[in-house]
Symmetry: C2
């Protein structure tokens, strides 16, 4: 960002979005089927090029909206990392800025067969090689999942996977799916409800499910409105994932 008296080189700049959710007890990622070359027919992360006058987050939201048909997308979005520009796209040098979206399980509008079809896929199916992604998207996904796993430890962002109101058991299911571990329901309950500034009791209860009704919670005001830094350690001491 300094001298550059000669006109600097320019690169196409893309945004890719790793949208994660939990469905059926599994961590899932939103993927599209590519309709054009390169990697035609292969699965890839949703994304696209940044337009002039656009900022990165704006571009990410726009692209994700276009490819899922969702207007106002739920959840929590943050920048993940940048990749490239060298040798990651057969068409030439492209820099991509990957983003991470943690969201409740929202339905993707199944577009007609002429549009790129977006759908949720279990992350495990990519990790075990059953599905292989276009470009360097497998690496980006791996980084995203690791980021998500780490964030649950010290931030209240596990709640971003839930709806507006949720039970402790639902929140625990998120942690179990993202970390791929089982957690003791009793100890998790104590830690979640006992951490100041994390959850707020709505006073309402679930009904109609099997077993005893559960209290409904929402994210506490402090945890929600840490504008720009929802990241900062709300969970202190952190909620550590079990190390084998």
């Amino acid at each position: 960002m300094t001298q550059a008296v000669p006109a600097p080189a320019s690169f196409p700049v893309a945004v890719d979005i790793v949208a994660l959710t939990v469905r059926g007890g599994e961590l899932c990622v939103l993927l599209i089927t590519r309709l054009i070359e390169p990697f035609r027919g292969r699965l890839a992360l949703p994304g696209g090029f940044v337009l002039p006058g656009e900022d990165l987050v704006e571009a990410a939201i726009r692209e994700l909206g276009e490819e899922t048909g969702v207007e106002r997308l739920p959840g929590y979005l943050e920048q993940l990392a940048s990749y490239g520009p060298k040798g990651r796209d057969p068409r030439g040098d492209v820099l991509t800025v990957a983003h991470l979206l943690l969201a409740p399980d929202f339905p993707v509008l199944s577009a007609g067969s002429d549009a790129e079809q977006a759908a949720w896929y279990p992350v495990e199916r990519v990790a075990n090689g059953e599905v292989d992604l276009a470009f360097d998207h497998a690496q980006i996904l791996e980084d995203a999942v690791e980021r998500a796993r780490a964030k649950l430890e010290y931030s209240p962002l596990g709640a971003a996977f839930c709806g507006e109101e949720f039970t402790i058991a639902q929140l625990r299911a998120v942690y179990e799916a993202v970390w791929g571990t089982r957690l003791d329901p009793r100890n998790f309950h104590r830690k979640a409800t006992g951490t100041p500034g994390f959850l707020e009791d709505t006073g309402r209860m679930t009904a109609g499910d099997a077993g005893r009704p559960a209290a409904l919670f929402r994210l506490a005001e402090e945890a929600r409105s840490t504008a720009g830094h929802p990241t900062r350690a709300v969970l202190n001491p952190p909620l550590m994932r079990p190390r084998v």
Copy 2:
């Protein structure tokens, strides 16, 4: 990263480097004095434009080398985050990928008065408004310092600020400078030496200083060679900074 049948827009892509070190018990950042517009005469992070065929890390290393005169730069380099492209450079939309370098206190070659002069400045002088940086570099620096503070908690990267061999007291001085706190020497010693996979005793000792000689340590093999992921929790449980 998807459809883009029309030729996508391109942006100049820059790299900026937040090089941090500890000198005189203070956390310091490497800044250059700009010789050209915009922001001529103001202090800024070292950096410059990515060249065709170059990768981000390559560009960061090259630029930092050019502006400090250092060939093989010491320390640990990682990507921080990307900023822009909208409205952060008066010349037009520029995307910048900021990088973070944690390094021992290396001397910057004081170039002639015609070159951009690089020098170390206490981070505190930027934080308290005594020095104000060009572009959005104050924000980038703030993010970098927060990243560095967080990394010391769960990674062995505090040692990146030290030379090849160092005493526990020197390592503690790093933590104290970066966090801006005092740490109990006895407890820090126990935690640092007692964490498996963190430090290796060289068997050698300091001599000539005041007080009892101290044992010299180096980073353990496991902590050094976590290629790509030196980040992954070596310090477990983490070495937490005191919360007031």
